[in-house]
Symmetry: D2
Subunit: 339 residues, 4 copies
Amino acid sequence: MIKVGIIGATAYTSLELIKILLRHSEADIVYLGTRREGSNKISDIFPILTNTFDMSCSRLTQKDIPKDMDMVFVTLPPAISMQYVPGFLDVGVKVVDLSADYRFQERSTYEKWYEVKHTDPSGLDVAIYGLPEIFRENIKKTILVANPGCYPTSAIIGLAPLVLKDYVYTDDIIIDAKSGISGRGREHKEETHYCECNENVEAYNVGEHRHTPEIENIISLIGKSEASVCFTPHLVPMNRGILCSIYVKMKKRISDEEIIAIFNGFYSKEPFVRIKTDRKLPKTKDVVDTNFCEIAIRVVDGRVIILSSIDNLIKGASGQAVQNMNIMCGFKETLGLSS
Amino acid sequence: MIKVGIIGATAYTSLELIKILLRHSEADIVYLGTRREGSNKISDIFPILTNTFDMSCSRLTQKDIPKDMDMVFVTLPPAISMQYVPGFLDVGVKVVDLSADYRFQERSTYEKWYEVKHTDPSGLDVAIYGLPEIFRENIKKTILVANPGCYPTSAIIGLAPLVLKDYVYTDDIIIDAKSGISGRGREHKEETHYCECNENVEAYNVGEHRHTPEIENIISLIGKSEASVCFTPHLVPMNRGILCSIYVKMKKRISDEEIIAIFNGFYSKEPFVRIKTDRKLPKTKDVVDTNFCEIAIRVVDGRVIILSSIDNLIKGASGQAVQNMNIMCGFKETLGLSS
Amino acid sequence: MIKVGIIGATAYTSLELIKILLRHSEADIVYLGTRREGSNKISDIFPILTNTFDMSCSRLTQKDIPKDMDMVFVTLPPAISMQYVPGFLDVGVKVVDLSADYRFQERSTYEKWYEVKHTDPSGLDVAIYGLPEIFRENIKKTILVANPGCYPTSAIIGLAPLVLKDYVYTDDIIIDAKSGISGRGREHKEETHYCECNENVEAYNVGEHRHTPEIENIISLIGKSEASVCFTPHLVPMNRGILCSIYVKMKKRISDEEIIAIFNGFYSKEPFVRIKTDRKLPKTKDVVDTNFCEIAIRVVDGRVIILSSIDNLIKGASGQAVQNMNIMCGFKETLGLSS
Amino acid sequence: MIKVGIIGATAYTSLELIKILLRHSEADIVYLGTRREGSNKISDIFPILTNTFDMSCSRLTQKDIPKDMDMVFVTLPPAISMQYVPGFLDVGVKVVDLSADYRFQERSTYEKWYEVKHTDPSGLDVAIYGLPEIFRENIKKTILVANPGCYPTSAIIGLAPLVLKDYVYTDDIIIDAKSGISGRGREHKEETHYCECNENVEAYNVGEHRHTPEIENIISLIGKSEASVCFTPHLVPMNRGILCSIYVKMKKRISDEEIIAIFNGFYSKEPFVRIKTDRKLPKTKDVVDTNFCEIAIRVVDGRVIILSSIDNLIKGASGQAVQNMNIMCGFKETLGLSS
């Protein structure tokens, strides 16, 4: 049984972390830290936890964090996260960071897109991008995992088999993504008002969403050549779920059946990837509340259309974070994550 | 053609006012006032109006409002509204006030429930409660209409025929109301965050909602005896619409058919009240975007159940406000309001 | 480890049963029966189960059901269920029946409200109404549990403490219930079309819903006098969740604090009942996906308002069914049910 | 005042037609035909029309349709529509057909995609594709308009300026479309069950939606070369609205400003096209209930992203149908269509 802390306990992703860890047979939550003033029990913040998990939150200050834990999940916003992470690493606490602060090998890419100076470059050097389907071996050995963004998780799992096998042009990738509103976070602002979101679909951050370089980086790495991604996220009126519709051009002619076989082969041992067969298509409601990524692939006129869906809060955040913890700690990878 | 202004132009109710007035053959919007800084065109605030109505908003200050209008709709919050209304009345501009500031004949009731001193008692003396179905003759003659609250509109229209004819006990009325989220206003706060409202039903302000005394006052007036109302509002995940489920006890035995006949008789000349027959029940979606109040009545074991539905933003606010304007100005009552 | 079957595997409640039983450490699903033709794997019917639980469904005929199980959950419609239940009881398989077929001690009440002759009166004699908070001791000893209806579960748990202690008049109970659309079942008809349900609230079956006599029966039993309930269900646009707003009159004057103390006392040992304190109110989203019933109580002008919320598919159906199984089999009552 | 009939009165699009025509100062609905048995008043089918428009529907048979009208709107399904249209044309009644039956100049394309023999080839010869922004002059002179599909309307208006001016490659167009559920029609089937649609996003008919050839045909015509379109429609949980996200490659380098200037020029005189400026993006809620098509254009890395939104039931069906009627009859084009 390891001792686990959550740093930034009031985020939507933290509620999911708690729910998963309560089912986890090898991890015990021992600390909940929050920057909010005046909060006390976590079940006051998330009443669904009442009588199930009523632990008190601690006021988070950089100076005074208990370090007697084995592992922490950091769910703080970007730029804040890197102020806390080094302190844990220094005393031997492993970290899964859910912010973007450690996702980029190139510090300059981070600084350009997040418009802030990176204050922990040595952390960048040790951090591993926590997509188990691609980087499992490295995750096993690291003390710091940069948990991937929600859109990149969905997009990269959808693209990896074809990119790795060089079946598609990586300089001409279009990703049209649809996300539930929880992807916008818990902050209340005009964009998250019920009447602004409900009965509405819209694109946002067209051509400038910060997940663009994250996807490009990893696809470049996998494909061993500079990738160029046109990424357009949309908000749809539902709480959670992401569907990425990915359009790529093929280098080689190939049939629907062959391409599905490639995916089935590539992911045959993966516990959380499902490939649709029989011409069925993924629905986000079939992955919500699970750690699965569900994928369908179609060849249409020499183009491949990949439909990849996840729960943005589970496989796109907290579920994957626990999957990473399981790998880092040598646990069975599905612990806490299979319903 | 009369000249009309909207004082508080950025409220959800103001958008509805504008949409209705644009269809109105006898009224011209000439002024839009807002307390917001930095706003300019109304179509920047409500993009749905782009190319249809792009009038500029004026910054609202108490000192400096143009008075060369025939009529203003005031959509400011309670306590603010009464700071502006007297200025218009003084120079002969008629007012329909959509706040609660002029809805109570008893100043003390207002001050108790709204926790603020009333600064315009002389306005209170001239104001008429703007429910045309009950007070049409008085509305015709007044210069100041206090436009009813959304819940009271639905509840009082549902109760009036039985109360007036003394068929029910008015000291034992239960009103269980369900409202769409726009009833909470346009402000963004935790309660109006999409993920807090969506996939959720909840009661709020149980036993202490400010519409309770408003309903009690008018029912007391109609029934000529002190009414006591147990009013419980609920939020349901939709943009607009109100359904009041009203439970009253009968003084006299009566059948479903007789009671429907009473309602049909009472409202036979009303352009905006529909009584359901053939055991059908109202759906809020059938009144949304209309000025109708739709009512079904059932007798069950000596109790009457009244189901009364309106669009909270139309019959519950802006539609009724224009209906009042039509009456005050001698126009056909349905102008701008029939689809 | 006991062997469990689900008879009627394609209902929404069966999906929830499966999800719960997969987490259950003492029960193994060994049989899935369905009356649907041509279906095969349960994960084809509920794709969310793919790779998690891909068991094949068996075509259900009355003649030919495997009986080598310890327990079955019957999720067939009323009138159909009682055709299958006796066969299991005969060979010693315990039954939790989720239909209404065994909920009434008085056969005549069932036959009046369900308009069908009861074909298994001897089953009626042994069946126990499966509300653990009230009938736990009887459930322990029975072989046939009639799992309560969703509305009755929420309503009775909300009423029981005050009824048992004779604090309220049971001949004057008003229950205004709000339910998500899954309460209407999986059948597709005009009433469940997305565009008919979405952005709409409506009452249905006013004065004639079949859960009325079910609630009256149990409240009469608890209160030891004939109860009369005015029950009005409403549909709200969300997938799941029930909120009952219950209005009762008090026999004795009592404060909010005292009444909350009564509830806290009555349910102090219950693992799945939560009483709200600090004037907080229940939200259905805080019980969805849990087996909790969450209750707030308010005294307003000599009347008690009880707000009681559950997940209609969990505490209102499948969660409670597993809770009953746990009790019948001597397992820890919360097995499979605490997140 | 012209006399107008609706052939297929119970479709969702017919309700919208009725609402628009009731506001229309030059058209009078004189006939409502339906193939449904036993229906009578249109307000029984659409209760929102009660007291506003209670006309009786007539049972539709091919033999016996009144022909003393000036114009009919045919809202029957494809393959059925062409059985009724010739009868009207023969006696001089103008037709706007909302089905796909007359949208294809090439009969073979229709027969391939709709899998039915075309029974009215002479109708095909006279029909004009009713997209006023492109074919206004032809619409003026025709007696038969093929009203465009909802997705093609949104897509073609978004593409036309760049295609006509030869700025983009038309053999490499990707259209990722999102639609509300009303786009699936009024029929109740598993796919339109509330609980299947709500809290879900999914793609459907990938690579095989019938609007693909419709878009390709018109773009080929405008661009004067064979177009190839990859069209992927998605369902999102809302009643109405379409957003097309269109990805095209540029033949010439051009800036955001220049491209917006091209759109503004092209559509400068169009009453129902709005081009977003100031880097704002369209929201479907801002065009719902209007006849507007709202468009934003962005240049990202040599690619153009066009976001085009309409109300699928108004500009994508009934609003455009009335716009076509206005053009065919020489009325002001915006009659009945400006709020």
